[in-house]
């Protein structure tokens, strides 16, 4: 592997360029390298090396200056990122002041500008989409039809799961297909209690352990997971999958990879005669110099909003409104799951039971709404409920009244069992939920700032009401007390599942990408991050991005061999 920050050691021409080193870019780099292509991987942020660059990974709470908290100055400079970060992981998120964007409506854009991107801090949930999801737009006449079905992606889901290592349990559900799993982590007694109640009271619901990219045994010379639940600091044990721990080292091993950090892509360059991309122009974020790199194929994996931004900024005679934007859909149809509504409750019982270790995941109640239609609900699509059961500890019991020895006793001993759960719900693709380039404001590198105009609508709001109601009902039926429903009223972006801004489709007039993630009008450009999503489904999406990436890489190399691109 080579890492370069200047132009002297770096060639100008490669077989492939990959833009972005996050969860899908890492996969693109690895797959293309393994297939023998010389790959230039461009990353706008700094390099982060596995283990070496995880400075907080082994720290105790008392090793931090302000324990878990971040300083007031950090919060003031980072009004968005600070809402999702703590002292242990703040260094893996951008500085909001250095990297501004324009919220036309409130939207939290969490970003990780470094090698590995947000794969370092992701939630590690791995769920397959099903034909219930792939067919939904067509059946309901919403937006456009997905150009693929489950059978097209199924082998690639397995391919990815077997490589990254996913722990989980098979449940034989058509709406949430089973994958290839490592042994599942266990549910605790309160979660088992809730599961039994749910299965007893309904034929179409169950509770299962989350399917997560945390290794329950050694895998691909990584792991196993040590059950510290500090994943977002980076794991020195390689206990979970990230680009840094897995795909990038594998790509390096081939000898075909060059990484260029500090390289923000300004535009994709078009070869007007061949109607293909010839390469990219980047700006070195330190020297602010421009460089051009050329390749036979370009994979864009800069993350949904940034990918659309790069393409919109790539203007030419052929593409006056942005690269590949004949349809006018580029930047539109932005989606993010909502995860603000749910319920919590306490349970009097199991007082003699506890657990040991910090399981790095919770549970999942797979989608049970609108599986067949005709349920008489006032919303379409559905949600997966995610949650966790635990005994109250000091972070919960601190609200107890009083002070002194009795208070201390309450604080330092396990309290009652509680369950917290919320629905991760599908968001429909609305044409006017969109990003665009700002014509007046530029960033430090002279690139236009991105406007984000996004809101949840009636269908999402009605679904949130149902999530709270159904969550409370399940808790109540299982004998929980002090049940409270909630809706945190979080803005878009908070679930960090933004997607849809360069959607796949069958018709070049209404979509940006075809069924192989190629730009309709420039077949050597592939987009395989979240921007390709035609609908959001309700599953955490990273596994799907990885599977689509591996599939598109396989296709791209075949097409190269055939001389088609």
């Amino acid at each position: 592997m080579m890492i370069s920050t200047g132009d002297s050691q770096i060639k100008a021409t490669y077989d492939a360029i990959v833009i972005g080193s996050g969860i899908s870019g890492g996969w693109a780099a690895m797959e293309l390298c393994k297939k023998g292509l010389k790959v230039l991987l461009l990353e706008r942020g700094r390099n982060v090396e596995h283990v070496k660059d995880y400075p907080t990974a082994m720290l105790n709470p008392w090793d931090f200056d302000l324990r878990g908290d971040t300083p007031a100055k950090y919060k003031a400079e980072n009004p968005v990122q600070s809402q999702g970060t703590n002292a242990g992981n703040a260094h893996f998120f951008v500085n909001d002041t250095e990297h501004p964007y324009i919220q036309q409506k409130p939207f939290h854009w969490f970003r990780g500008y470094q090698v590995g991107g947000r794969s370092l801090t992701w939630g590690r949930q791995c769920y397959r989409l099903s034909d219930l999801d792939f067919e939904a737009n067509l059946k309901e006449g919403v937006a456009v039809d997905w150009p693929i079905r489950y059978k097209d992606i199924e082998p690639w889901y397995g391919y990815v799961e077997r490589f990254i290592g996913v722990s989980g349990k098979k449940e034989n559900l058509s709406q949430l297909p089973d994958g290839d799993y490592l042994p599942a982590l266990d549910l605790n007694c309160i979660e088992n209690h809730l599961d039994q109640s749910i299965r007893k009271n309904s034929h179409d619901r169950l509770l299962t352990i989350a399917r997560v990219a945390n290794l329950t045994r050694g895998w691909d010379s990584r792991g196993p997971c040590m059950n510290r639940n500090l994943c977002s600091r980076g794991c020195p044990f390689g206990g979970y999958f990230s680009s840094n721990s897995s795909t990038i080292p594998a790509a390096m091993q081939t000898g075909n990879l060059t990484i260029r950090p500090y390289s923000v892509v300004a535009e994709v360059l078009l070869d007007e005669q061949k109607q293909k991309a010839k390469g990219v122009r980047i700006i070195d974020t330190i020297s602010k110099e421009s460089f051009e790199y050329y390749a036979k194929i370009v994979f864009i994996n800069a993350s949904t909003i940034a990918t659309a931004g790069i393409l919109l900024n790539s203007k030419s005679h052929r593409f006056p409104n942005g690269f590949g934007n004949d349809s006018g859909e580029l930047g539109h149809n932005l989606m993010d799951h909502h995860s603000a509504a749910g319920a919590q409750g306490a349970y009097e019982g199991y007082k003699d039971m506890y657990y040991k270790g910090r399981r790095p995941c919770g549970f999942l109640i797979p989608r049970f709404r609108n599986l067949k239609g005709g349920e008489g609900l006032d919303f379409t699509r559905g949600y997966n409920i995610q949650g966790h059961g635990e005994r109250s500890e000091w972070m919960d019991t601190r609200t107890a009244g009083g002070f002194g020895a009795d208070f201390k006793n309450t604080l330092t001993h396990p309290g009652h069992w509680t369950v917290w759960m919320a629905g991760w719900g599908e968001c429909l693709p609305y044409h006017d939920n969109m990003i665009s380039l700002n014509n007046t404001h530029k960033d430090s590198w002279g690139l236009p700032l991105i406007n984000i105009d996004f809101s949840f609508r009636e269908n999402e709001n009605k679904m949130m009401k149902d999530i709270s109601k159904s969550s409370a009902e399940m808790l109540s039926a299982a004998g929980f007390t002090n049940i409270e429903t909630f809706n945190y009223g979080k803005p878009g972006g908070d679930t960090v599942h933004e997607m849809g801004t360069a959607r796949m489709g069958r018709d070049p007039k209404t979509s940006v990408l075809n069924g192989n993630n190629q730009i309709h009008a420039a077949k050597n450009v592939f987009v395989t991050d979240g921007s390709c999503m035609t609908s959001s489904a309700s599953q955490n999406p990273s596994l799907t991005y990885m599977a689509l990436t591996a599939r598109a890489c396989d296709f791209a190399v075949e097409e190269l061999k055939k001389g088609n691109i």
């Binding site: 105790n60 709470p61 008392w62 302000l66 324990r67 878990g68 300083p71 007031a72 970060t85 703590n86 242990g88 992981n89 801090t121 939630g123 982590l185 266990d186 605790n188 007694c189 040590m226 510290r228 639940n229 977002s232 995860s339 919590q344 007082k351 003699d352 039971m353 506890y354 657990y355 040991k356 270790g357 910090r358 399981r359 790095p360 995941c361 919770g362 995610q386 966790h388 005994r391 109250s392 500890e393 000091w394 972070m395 601190r398 009244g401 009083g402 002070f403 002194g404 020895a405 208070f407 201390k408 604080l411 330092t412 001993h413 396990p414 917290w420 429903t485 909630f486 809706n487 945190y488």
Partner: protein
């Protein structure tokens, strides 16, 4: 982004309680404003009297011993270390500098009025109080900070910042529970659990885990 971090999640849970009670909000704010008006006027009386002034942020480190005694009253040494053993006062001083301006103002004002209240009542500073006297002073300030109607606390904290006692208790708890002594002796701390065991019978005098 489930469990992205624990603090984030717990902040959310605080908001939680506010939402379902939204209907009562207007009424609650009205009663709160009435209470506030009384509170504000009584503060200005203190200031005119020239005593019980707010402690300045620069002078806060000089109140270390007082803060240590206050924290110890909240989490005393028992068969396990207390707040003073864990040097919670140092954490409080550090955190008050980092806290939102309203809450910082409340804290510094509260600390000043606690000093005055103690001297007026007992003729000696808090640090010289007997255990009973310390408890009585704390009870007084707890009653000033906490409304019996839960929703009022939430709205009050949002409008006026967290009250003195609430903030003192919060920082004491956090400082103690995230300290090495508090986490490893006051509670149970598992640095590298290795395995997750979902079902463990509770041991006699089982301590709660210090981290989630």
């Amino acid at each position: 982004m489930i469990k992205m971090n624990v603090i984030f999640r717990h902040l959310n849970i605080i908001f939680t309680i506010t939402y379902p009670l939204f209907v009562n909000r207007k009424k609650a704010i009205q009663s709160l404003l009435a209470i506030t008006a009384v509170g504000v006027s009584s503060v200005s009386v203190y200031e005119c009297a020239g005593t019980g002034k707010p402690v300045s942020i620069e002078a806060l480190p000089q109140k270390k011993q007082l803060l240590a005694e206050l924290a110890e009253t909240i989490i005393p040494r028992t068969d396990t270390p207390g707040a003073k053993d864990a040097k919670v006062e140092e954490f409080i001083i550090k955190m008050i500098k980092e806290i939102d301006p309203k809450t910082q103002r409340n804290f510094l004002a509260g600390l000043g009025s606690l000093e005055k209240y103690t001297i007026d009542k007992y003729d000696h500073p808090f640090t010289d109080c007997t255990a009973e006297q310390k408890n009585a002073v704390m009870k007084h300030f707890e009653s000033k900070a906490v409304y019996s109607i839960g929703i009022l606390n939430k709205i009050s904290n949002k409008l006026l910042g967290t009250p003195f006692f609430t903030q003192l208790k919060d920082l004491t708890v956090e400082g103690y529970c995230t300290s090495q002594l508090g986490a490893t002796q006051g509670m149970a701390y598992d640095y590298i659990p290795v395995k997750f065991n979902a079902l463990v019978p509770l041991q006699k005098n089982q301590k709660a885990w210090a981290t989630k």
